[in-house]
Point group: C2
């Protein structure tokens, strides 16, 4: 049986064809244009391959309430062409196969939990730090939905008094994580592209501090068994170790779990399935579609 996987992103759509064992047989990337252009191309690809199930992990926010008339719709996205677009319904009806639908980051969290860096964990968080900051969360081995879905990127933080941009740049919130610590936040603060900053730029000290505050708050709320952090910003691998040290410092010895106090190097980790955690997660979602 062929299983289709779609990781729908704001800039590109990644499609994969997997077998039941999870071997990636074929994949294709296309730029994300308005639905009228993008959707027919995706439908064509999946139809041609004869998939029998489809899993979708998408950018959001999305409506995930099973009893909602808008289930599977992309809601208040800044990408206006996609706002209120019923992605799940359109693909399921066009392809006539069982479909499962979740956020891209929940799909990635599921993949890292089942097969990647958080293998064996029932409760884990996957965070991606890039143009934005998003997170997927598994509890009891399943992605968390609740009222909507996690939006960890907009958690409120305590700005460092030495931060020249303590309010951040999120249009919705003062001092939220994404506004303080996403890639564009680093660039805005530095006055030049973050990609051109040297590793010893003080921007990365602040960056590690903010991501450590995030880790602390995730630990206090969820008590995850593992925190997986990836995304473009973490391609500076030295950041990870600073985040770990700063997390332990901020916890102040309060959480007496040896996984953190003695083995933080295997507690806060990079993803193992990067950069296709989301695509593999979409395959897992598709495999379980009914």
């Amino acid at each position: 049986m062929k299983i289709g996987a779609l990781e729908a992103g704001g800039t590109k759509m990644v499609m994969g064809i997997f077998d039941e064992e999870g071997h990636l047989l074929e994949d294709k990337r296309i730029p994300t244009r308005p639905p009228a252009e993008t959707i027919p191309e995706m439908i064509g690809f999946f139809q041609e391959k004869g998939i029998e199930k489809l899993g979708i992990g998408t950018f959001g926010p999305v409506d995930l309430r099973p009893d909602s008339p808008d289930f599977g719709t992309i809601t208040a996205t800044p990408k206006l062409d996609w706002r209120n677009y019923p992605l799940y319904t359109v693909l399921r009806e066009a392809l006539s196969v069982p479909c499962t639908f979740d956020t891209d980051v929940n799909a990635a969290a599921l993949a890292e939990c089942r097969l990647g860096a958080a293998r064996g964990c029932e409760n884990a968080v996957y965070v991606t730090v890039g143009t934005g900051i998003g997170a997927g969360i598994c509890v009891g081995g399943k992605p968390v939905h609740g009222l909507m879905h996690p939006e960890v990127g907009h958690m409120l933080l305590k700005p460092n008094p030495r931060d020249p941009m303590p309010q951040g740049f999120c249009p919705y919130h003062e001092s939220c994580l994404e506004g303080l610590a996403s890639g564009p936040a680093i660039s805005k603060r530095a006055g030049r592209d973050a990609g051109n900053l040297p590793d010893d730029d003080p921007a990365f000290t602040l960056e590690a501090e903010y991501l450590a505050q995030m880790c602390v708050n995730l630990i206090m709320v969820l008590s995850p068994e593992k925190i997986v952090i990836g995304g473009g910003v973490l391609e500076r691998e030295f950041l990870l170790d600073r985040i770990r040290k700063e997390t332990v410092r901020l916890l102040g010895g309060y959480i007496q779990a040896p996984e953190i106090t003695a083995r933080v190097d295997s507690y806060i980790v990079l993803p193992e399935l990067y950069p296709i955690s989301g695509l593999i997660g979409a395959w897992l979602l598709g495999r379980d579609a009914q």
Copy 2:
């Protein structure tokens, strides 16, 4: 069948005898003294009543990992007599009945989810704001454990620049929720007992702001279907409405869920089972013990 329930607190032990339908047949409160004095009295009470199962919700932190040799032990508590005390094992062995064990706040969250203010929700948070700040969380209808258990009271917040005590008073963390917003924090900031402050004291504006920051971060991480807030500080019922308004303001319109944007009065609510949410939760835990 009689089911025993124990809500083990730092200052008092509340014991209940329930039938299978959840009727409270009898209860008893005793002060929490050292285990050598307190435990035999509790064992005597439960033995005399002929309970066939026992549920325990206890102060913490506790070890809840099912495969841990210290499962059911109270760990790093400041109450030295109880530190490393194997509460679960001692009670289960003395009473020879099936036992279930969790934190007091997870028990209360379970009770409010099944029978109280969050009835019908699978994902909800119960917070108690008093001498300390604790929270229990249900996801998928079950209490969250993870590496340890939630410790929401020590989430890091952004202090208000006009707060005369912006660092809070927690010995472990600067600017954590408990250090900024527990009952003793209000008293310390005001220089007199919080219980004697008039309702229009500015302390309560800060209090509502900090508890609203907590709500925002809970929403961003967990996306709960309901937030239940109780405890001594919330006996000032006007606080609740201020917390709701401030939460909506801080969210800045980012979360477009009508449960929050249009119906926040039924989203952030008082517990319905107060002050025995924890005891009823212990009964639920006991009923399911095997």
